[in-house]
Symmetry: C2
Subunit: 540 residues, 2 copies
């Protein structure tokens, strides 16, 4: 027998209705050359005009709508309007290599693109190669590129101004409908699309309100530094709509001084970003009052304790780690001091908060050895971390892309090597996937190796990641020149220029006569890592 | 297009798995003549044995399993085991009038009953009239009634001991499956069944973790005083499984001194109950250290400020109101101080926390005037409170019972008269349903009037509710004797004895020569209320 409860789907339009009826006075502040402040009361009608604009542009129902945008009020409008209209919000990272951007836009078949004017110089040159894009709607965030004289180009504000006010007409009846799309290059091969549903986004937003997760409240002022083109900025904009927190968004601001000033002036209480961002801010923390901060979330990689200690001293609180992936919405774990940690001293507490922590509700984690056997939760036994739950991907977009990332029983294989202790606390010990995470973004070792090997002067090449004080990790290329060739690290770097994104190019290229092999004759990346791990250069 | 997220249903077995893998060390403490302490690690295998026991007893899939039990570890086992087995947990309030209990058990067609031994004396005499019940499983909580020598009677511990250990075999695939059932007499006519689904229970449990709701955390020690036979004890046992809070359950304890001692000894941080309970504890607060309490939730009726002030003085915190109904899982609103309240002084803050507050996520509220027009959210305009959301009932059990409680667009009509302010804060101003809420339990004015009128010596009778310092409300019977009859209040009370539950019998019977009428000739309960409201007696 079915229960007799109302069949109210978990959908993004319910968030719009919530902010409007309960939090109309709460604010979205966007940094930039001119800072803007808007209330939900002012934003909600704009969202509805946006929905009408998508209709008037003839964007087909269910089509993807691409965004190339910073964290801003307008991007929040797109976060609400596109999924509420029954179309798919497709956020794209404009910092990817142009080949990847081209692949992603074409793979998703984006019908129209919304682009911040400061990002337009990166995107406009690629538009000719976007097969499906019919319009580029420019959002003027103070960029100075003149608008191309092209009928496809429209201005966001003019587009909204041209629409009538009125209620939302579309109704999302099925909470499992696709709402938003984000590609990850955190796997081998081409970037792969992760397709979130209305349901997964709403469930994830509830999880972030939990007292033991981010405890977001109406009293919070939430500043997602993590970009809105990356896993919905960890779902924080949607969570802030549930909690009614003010949102402080940096817009195109990037300079540490500007970011810290934003956090300080608006009395931000909760912020989230990757370690590289937090590291960049350290030198300027001193000059600002950051006493309002109660929680600094640091995810997308390990928290290094020296960095966390710097925050403890300068701001009075350590960094708090969270573990997640594009495929996991993303928050799967976040750390907290549980009752059984009560005996720990200050440093041990900081270390604990700097590790991933236990799984949030609804989500299950396990570590599985190579032979497929689930490992005991003893804090010692290692295996691949696998994840299951309603906010976790079941597949990538496309027939069978990356099918090997999912187990027979439907869990996501993360490619991270981990332990879990008796209290469910996760620790990441290694990464089995062939990737380097630099400044929060992925570099595929395999793709980089292939680029190096495409040089006829190279016989063997292996790329490993080594920890790096600023970027978290950086690639090191180990290169064996072809017989009789005289090759220098600079030659290798010069060859790579233009063949891969500039930030992929390794500062460090190690010339060798042979790459160490495993018993089965494969390159032993483990031996390479052992050899180069603790000698990372600091040049950047 | 559908999103590509894992199809993991929101079900009660996921809670069992969560407490076992993450919170195996956390505790359920049950008060009683002997206090018991068990960890989830010890409870989880018992839950699985219970599931096997239901199989071995041949309880049909989807059947209702009744419970007559206090708040206890065993009741928690039933909360997990019955729904996890694909059967329906049917909690029954043993304090209802026996006719109601009989109606409820037969209407639900309970297949077996689980009964605390201290409650057996109330239930056993009724068993002959329960048409569908095949077994009565007695849970020995220190009661002294000898077990009836009857093949239908089984002992809970023997039943579990007779089962093998092993994994759960049933899998709940559809989250919309019925999980639990609770009858409400908060409507006119016969009690009506509200049928919760796995989905609604899991969603509601997540809501309670929210920072602005109850903020339940692993660090909390949660003591639901509100009974587990009433709306799943506000969903607190399930929420504590999500958060990993310790649970402190009073078992059969009722004496104020025992309850306060329980809260104090176990350093309870969060507790919930109705005003009558909190009022009873006031005299004994002084002798105990209650400094661990961070949140005292008071629901099911208004918070009176004198009571809240007494807690403020004795414990250091006020009572925090919550609004809900059996039909709403129950928590729809709970109060909190938002940023726009920052200017308020201490007393104004306490008053605010003593009113219902804003709606929790996922849930919508509106007030609608008699003409069907939604009223403005101005804190002034009154109308009937209506509620919508995935944790709100869409119907009662049974073909068309109480269909008028739902609007054409699927909202629940609450029968409460309310206002909502610009920030979404709810205030209850009156009740349009003809009911009196005494000590958290309903008395039907109409049923009581009919009982009085069945006496041939009575010509007219009207029952109203007046506020009462201990019980919240008590009924007052206004009685016009038949021509020439000399009738006293004591005669009326004597006549009612045996015809209604003893706690329905009004302390106060007003003899009158005529009942005031409205313009249309109906009894004007409003005039009666005005006349008797502020002269409530304190005798009880
Ligand atoms: N916070 C509250 N303030 C005033 N009345 C309340 C409150 N909470 C519950 N009630 C009353 O209790 C009813 C629900 O009763 P029940 O279904 O027995 O839990 C509501 O419809 C209200 O009439």
């Amino acid at each position: 027998m079915r229960g007799l409860m109302q069949d109210r789907p978990l959908t993004i339009p319910t968030l719009l209705s919530r902010v409007e009826t309960q939090f109309g006075h709460k604010r979205i502040i966007t940094g930039g050359t001119t800072e803007t402040v808007a209330t939900w009361r002012a934003v909600a009608p704009r969202v509805r005009r946006l929905v009408r604009a998508l209709e008037s542009l003839g964007v087909p129902a269910g089509a993807c709508v691409g965004t190339f945008a910073w964290n801003s009020q307008r991007h929040v409008e797109l976060y609400l309007g596109i999924p509420s209209s029954g179309r798919i919000l497709h956020t794209v990272n404009h910092r990817l290599y142009r080949e990847q951007i081209r692949f992603i836009v074409n793979d998703a078949a984006d019908d129209v693109l919304f682009v911040d004017r400061t990002i337009l110089p990166v995107i406009w040159p690629l538009v000719a190669s976007f097969d499906s894009v019919r319009h580029v709607i420019v959002m003027d965030d103070g960029g100075d590129m003149p608008l191309p004289d092209d009928p496809r180009v429209l201005d966001y504000e003019e587009l909204l101004a041209g629409q009538a006010d009125g209620p939302l007409e579309t109704v999302i009846e099925d909470e499992n409908l696709a709402a938003s799309l984000c590609y990850t290059s955190g796997t081998t091969g081409d970037p792969k699309g992760v397709l979130y549903s209305h349901r997964s986004i709403v469930l994830h937003s509830l999880l972030l309100l939990g007292a033991d997760v981010f405890a977001l409240s109406e009293r919070d002022v939430v500043a997602p530094i993590v970009p809105m083109f990356h896993v919905n900025a960890w779902g924080l904009p949607y969570a802030a709509m549930q909690s009614g927190s003010d949102l402080v968004l940096p817009g195109p601001l990037r300079a540490p001084e500007e970011l810290v000033s934003l956090l300080s002036r608006h009395r931000v209480t909760f912020s989230a970003g990757v370690a590289t961002v937090w590291r960049d801010l350290v030198p300027v923390l001193g000059g600002h009052d950051l006493s309002s901060l109660r929680h600094i979330a640091c995810g997308g990689g390990a928290v290094d304790d020296a960095l966390s200690g710097a925050y403890q001293r300068a701001v009075g609180i350590p960094l708090i780690n969270a573990w997640g992936m594009t495929e996991t919405s993303p928050v799967v774990t976040t750390s907290r001091l549980a009752t059984h940690h009560d005996g720990l001293d200050g440093e041990a507490r900081r270390l604990l908060l700097g590790s991933p922590g236990p799984a949030v509700p609804l989500t299950e984690i396990r570590v599985v050895a190579d032979d497929g056997v689930e490992q005991p939760r003893d804090g010692q036994s290692q295996g691949e971390l696998q994840v299951a739950g309603p906010t976790i991907a079941s597949a990538y977009v496309g027939s069978d892309a990356g099918a090997d990332a999912f187990t027979a029983d439907g869990w996501l294989r993360t490619g991270d090597v981990a332990t879990i202790d008796a209290w469910g606390y996760l620790r990441i010990v290694d990464r089995s996937k062939d990737l380097v995470k630099s400044g929060g973004e992925w570099i595929s070792s395999v793709a980089l190796e292939n680029a190096v090997l495409s040089d006829p002067r190279v016989r063997e090449a292996a790329v490993i990641g080594v920890t790096h004080p600023r970027w978290g990790e950086r690639p090191v290329a180990c290169v064996v020149p072809s017989e009789g060739v005289n090759l220098t690290p600079d030659d290798v770097r010069a060859y790579l220029r233009g063949r891969v994104a500039s930030w992929w190019i390794p500062e460090r290229v190690e010339m060798m006569t042979e790459i160490p092999k495993t018993a089965t004759g494969k390159w032993s990346k483990q031996k390479l890592r052992q050899r180069f791990a603790d000698t990372a250069t600091e040049e950047d």
